[in-house]
Symmetry: C2
Subunit: 453 residues, 2 copies
């Protein structure tokens, strides 16, 4: 059986839902449909999830929430009208919000999650009704009944392992299952959401739980591109990716998926395919444990800005047992995650995301590093961009790095940092933010030369 | 004034000492001569310092030491005879050893240092006598009287800061000063030696102390070479180096100097020149704080083997605040220094010198890393060679890395690691030991193309 997941833009209105219906009809193996909340119908439109966050805040702060609530209900009403559904579903949805607004929650964080999740939950009920009306026997399944258990972290819940065997029971349901994404329940029965992009996570969890032979993730693009289309004109599509490649690409700035969204499918060894709701016949990008080795070496090029480097130099630091540990201890005291730590003989740099620190903390950090480590020099290198070239077996393929360095050098792009040696599927370059677009472009041209036709 | 230092091969016999005398005569500014113990006269010969270590062990273990002692005295006697010195100096030397053998030392380590140091000390007395006989007013100065104070670490003493102002008084001495290298005294008056290569350290300390305008370090090579002559045929000579370049080169396998030997001169801003006792007219290699920027970008290529990489992977490790610190804590518990820590998204590697661990410790380390960090994978990559390209302002010169990577790629040499980003004067590559010689050769050819003539 296949688990298919649809993003917000694929569920924004009746026209989109008809495409979804057709996709379900096209393949009898598509037995579980995981859905998001209705997304934008056009660039100026608002996502239902964003409206729900606004509503939750208004209710929390005892402000007037009626305009926002009306907007939300209108979104569902429009869909119900366009699909000519029985209005009983609307009554159910508006009653749900009346109840939510009355409910006393543990605290505002639990309240926020409950409001946010309602976007997916009500959409799932609506879509199940639509499928049934169109002659596709469908059943809305609530994550609590399905046993999707999560850790007690509002807004950032993590799936609990016992979930998977619970979900296996879904296989016994005869109808097409419509399953709301984005949330689960704690063992105490509290509803909590995953981090943003959580519907992808739900889809991957369900795919793993029911041991699907395929997880189809429907978006609004034909495929994952080799490079960010905002930086490179008409980049090539990626036909195959491995789990590891996908993970490195999404880490380093690929917006298609949240960093961890597909992990539950990966860990279950479930093949994933990314397809386009608006063009379902396009093959899309398939993501599997391994891919044909004879294909290209480099799969994608990603970049991500907002990093800084903190440079520390001290004569003979590498003779001081525990020096590096003491450096990291200070970062830990500030609750800072670091990404990389390139080192010379008498110096090292810590690369980390800038948004973790205020100016004030930055100054305190520098002061502590200088004084507690008795360092000769401590300084900051701002505006770093991490550039990543990702490809299976790159390390074992001599010349990839040479090719990349040459391309960057010819474009006069200065390398602040190179980091290769741990991950076998990527090499990372640190450059100045201002060079990001040019760097991605020259790397793309180097590894994916345009064929004239 | 100039401080000049001579290595063991420059002082191995009378013929060499006559060259030394001439070098002193050639320049009236050469006011302080720092000397080593007599070195090898030919490849099969023994260094006096090695004989002294043997003697110390024999005396410690109450073994028969007379043959070894005889060998040592013979070395000095040969020089005395060849230079037709008054035999009173030999009586002084043999009395010195008789005393040493009788002396009760704090422990065997202090005894070892006293025996080792006597090689330089007696040679200095002998050379002072020789200079005086040849009409160069000379004075042997003992490090204790000069106030060369060191930390209380037998075999690995470090100079104490107050030493420098003490040594300044040496400027008032009218005669040419002959100063024994390799040792100093603790504040309690115990004689202790520096680590091996310690005569270079003494020379640099004295040069700093007397504020010399030049420290001339006489060896048996015309200059420092761009690459190891054992790996590259007739490599180019280096005319200028900066302090930083010299430091990185000697760290990464350049045998000319001990890693820290020149540091006291560097910290005092004293210019250093490396010259050849056997060819004093050759310009040698000068080492200064800065060098003409218009010169070559790459100064030297060095390599060093005996490293291993320990690879640790764990999903989402970079979200775990303190993960890196906990890794390094475990290495610290084993008393291990690490050299580099390249990292990916879900993995990092620790590069360290293999000789720090026994097989047994290696296994314990791996076990602790795996269990205490709950890592997904922990493995060892043995036989790593660190390859270093050193040159001022390399980082700001786009293309150097590209050139190096291309050369290595064309030679099919696989890069296990690249580390650039902290030190501005070097970039480091990790390769398999078996590729060391080829790698150095191709890099040499890339950066120092042979000019046909």
């Amino acid at each position: 059986m296949k688990v298919i997941k649809f993003g917000g833009s694929s569920l924004a209105n009746g026209t989109q839902l008809k495409k979804v219906l057709q996709i379900v009809k096209d393949d009898a193996d598509r037995r579980v449909v995981v859905v998001s909340a209705p997304g934008k119908r056009n660039d100026s439109d608002e996502k239902v999830t964003d409206l729900l966050i606004q509503l939750a805040n208004e209710v929390n702060q005892k402000e007037d929430y009626h305009i926002t609530l009306a907007k939300i209900l209108k979104r569902y009403q429009d869909i119900v009208d366009e699909l000519q559904l029985d209005n009983s579903i609307m009554e159910e949805i508006s009653k749900n919000y009346a109840d939510l607004i009355q409910t006393q929650f543990k605290d505002e964080w639990y309240a926020m999650d409950a409001f946010k999740a309602s976007g997916e939950d009500n959409n799932a009920k609506l879509i199940a009704a639509f499928f049934n009306k169109e002659g596709i026997p469908a059943k809305y399944v609530n994550p609590k009944d399905a046993g999707l258990l999560v850790s007690d972290n509002p807004g950032n819940a993590r799936v609990l392992p016992e979930t998977y065997k619970n979900l296996y029971a879904l296989r016994d349901i005869k109808e097409v299952i419509v399953f709301p994404g984005f949330f689960g329940y704690t063992k105490e029965g509290e509803l909590l959401t995953f981090s943003r992009g959580g519907s992808d996570i739900s889809g991957a969890i369900v795919a793993n739980g029911v041991r699907a032979n395929l997880y189809e993730n429907f978006t609004d693009v034909d495929a994952i591109y080799v490079a960010n289309p905002k930086l490179v004109k008409h980049p090539k599509k990626i036909a195959h990716l491995t789990y590891r490649e996908m993970r490195e690409l999404s880490y380093s700035g690929f917006s298609v998926f949240h960093d961890e969204a597909l992990q539950p499918a990966f860990s279950g060894g479930i093949p994933v395919v990314v397809k386009n709701t608006n063009n379902p016949s396009a093959p899309g990008t398939s993501i599997t444990k391994s891919r044909p080795a004879n294909e290209h070496i480099v799969s994608g090029i990603a970049s991500s800005t907002g990093f800084i480097g903190i440079y520390i130099s001290k004569y003979l630091m590498n003779r001081e047992i525990g020096f590096g540990r003491r450096v990291l201890q200070i970062f830990e005291d500030f609750g800072l995650n670091f990404e990389h730590m390139p080192s010379g003989i008498d110096d090292l740099s810590i690369i980390l995301r800038e948004d973790q620190m205020t100016m004030q903390q930055e100054q305190e950090l520098l002061y502590r590093l200088k004084t507690e480590l008795d360092a000769d020099d401590v300084s900051i290198k701002p505006n770093l961009c991490l550039l990543m070239i990702v490809g299976e077996g790159m390390v074992s393929s001599v010349g990839t790095v040479a090719k990349a360095c040459t391309a960057l050098a010819e474009a006069d792009i200065n390398l602040e940092m190179i980091n290769q040696g741990s991950s076998e599927v990527s090499v990372m370059f640190g450059i100045d933010e201002k060079d990001e677009a040019r760097a991605v472009k020259v790397l793309y041209d180097a590894f994916f030369p345009r064929t004239n036709k």
